[in-house]
Amino acid sequence: MEAPPDPGPHASASASAAAPLRAPEVARLREEQEKVVTNCQEKIQHWKKVDDDYNALQERLSTLPDKLSYNIMVPFGPFAFMPGKLVHTNEVTVLLGDNWFAKCSAKQAVGLVEHRKEHVRKTIDDLKKVMKNFESRVEFTEDLQKMSDAAGDIVDIREEIKTDFEFKAKHRIAHKPHSKPKISDVFEADFANDLKSKDLLGDKELWARLEELERQEELLGEIDIDSNTDTVIANGDDTSSEEEKEDQNINVNVMHQVTDSLTPSSCYKNVSNSEIFNGQVNRQLNCSINGSNSYHSNEDEEDDDDDDGDDGGGDNENDHDTLGTGDNSVPTIYFSHTVEPKRVRINTGKNTTLKFSEKKEEAKRKRKNSSGSGHSAHELPMIRTPADIYRVFVDIVNGEYVPRKSILKSRSRENSVCSDTSESSAADFDDRRGVLRSISCEEATCSDTSESILEEEQQENHQKKLLPLSGAPEAFSGTVIEKEFLSPSLPSHPAMAHPMLPTIPERKEVLSEVSEETTKRVSKFKAARLQQKS
């Protein structure tokens, strides 16, 4: 009631005031504040009416049971009435909300009404407070206006924003697609097209090292795996072994890989330094594998699957078979199981643990899996750091490279460099997955990340096209399992199987993840193996 008269004069006053304080803005401020005030008043009025209604209802309810029956006019629609009698005067159904009613006595109903009135009152109080607050604000702005009008003393301080000022984000410069990081070293070389010989040599050294580490582990008894070979293979699958195996189906290689995979985990636990070392080794191995080894042999995959089977390998195997083993070697991110049960670690070389990376890695796995069908040894982008990811995913807008805002949104821009083949590969992938649908939940989770992966996959696919691999089994089972494994045959294994992933640092976390799973599941694995063997 009080407020309405105020706004009119205020507004006019503010409008009239043209001063250093920029009258229009101040006037507008006041306008808005007054709007709030009037709004509050309206609301208060409404709530007062509600309160009023409740009062009447309460009164009626309190007196209703006084008589046994009431003569009333019963409404028939809005306009028709017929005389009737109100009986059961002490029986009330109360609307609880959402068309649910509760039957209760008049007295109880009165209590309910009281409770609601409480709420109404509280609301009114709050509204009044808000209104008061804003009334004072209006007063303040009013005073401000007056003061600025009267004396030019009051001036608002302004700071000009330079036109060329840009936010940091705008300075992002896109890498050329598939450009290589400055650090590019041996790894890149490995990835580059076909460098099998080098890779193999380097691999051997690495393998030797890995074997040593593995022995250490075994000596320490950290490895829980029942069957060393199986576990080893499984690890190898997880980390990097599959592709390596693929290359030349050499058992020895597999074993090396196995050792590699095993070693990282063991080393990880035991020796922090060794962890890093292992990670690097794995990287190199993977890289070399990626570049040199185009495809897996089905046998290897199966083995891997079996090994994986410990985790959930049975499914994987089937998946591979069904999916079409033809595609094997895809540039992949390798995940190895580390013995560490609890944490997923990403080796950044700084002893930092990054949990978030898990998803990325999973996505990478998916990529690998998806791309697995047509694997190209071509260029496998090394992803060692988050920055590297942006080298892989670059959007082309109007012929210019634009850094992608989010890697996870692969389809946001169709022009994106990677998008071409990825979709198709993804589709294939989905089809394959269909077989495995039973594990769908994981897949679903993965699907989100899969898009990004797909793009990369596209690249990979291109590479694959260049270097078609015949009959290479897919390492990827199509399902990525994050942490909850119900069945031992989880698709995660395939991903694990591809140690090829360029991202070594991340890889450790993957490994660690896997290791977590593996460690937790060791018993399951064993059981699964036993079953399979039996």
């Binding site: 009023d52 209604d53 009062n55 009447a56 003569n71």
Partner: protein
């Protein structure tokens, strides 16, 4: 007891129980309404039934004619009083 005809007219939700101090205009209109109600009630035949509407609902409760009449009269008085107060205050304001 041919009350039939009677009820709808009186049914007029007679009793604006709370006289929430509205503006002068609101008040005057309410006063007019109340006047009509009082007139109607006072002109009813003795045997007519009067129903009173339950606030915020469509149910009409049978009420006593004389009671309603007296009640509406008292309400009218209150409204008038209020109206007078507002007018007085305004006059004083003007004088100032």
């Amino acid at each position: 007891m041919p009350s039939r005809g009677a009820r709808p007219e009186d049914g007029a939700g007679l009793v604006p129980a709370d006289i929430s101090t509205p503006h002068k205009e609101d008040l005057s209109s309410k006063i007019k309404e109340q006047k009509v109600v009082v007139d109607e009630l006072s002109n009813l035949k003795k045997n007519r039934k009067v129903y009173r509407q339950q606030q915020n609902s469509n149910i009409f409760f049978l009420a006593d004619r004389t009671e309603m009449l007296s009640e509406s009269k008292s309400i009218l008085d209150e409204l008038r009083k209020e109206y007078q107060e507002i007018e007085n205050s305004e006059k004083t304001k003007v004088k100032k």
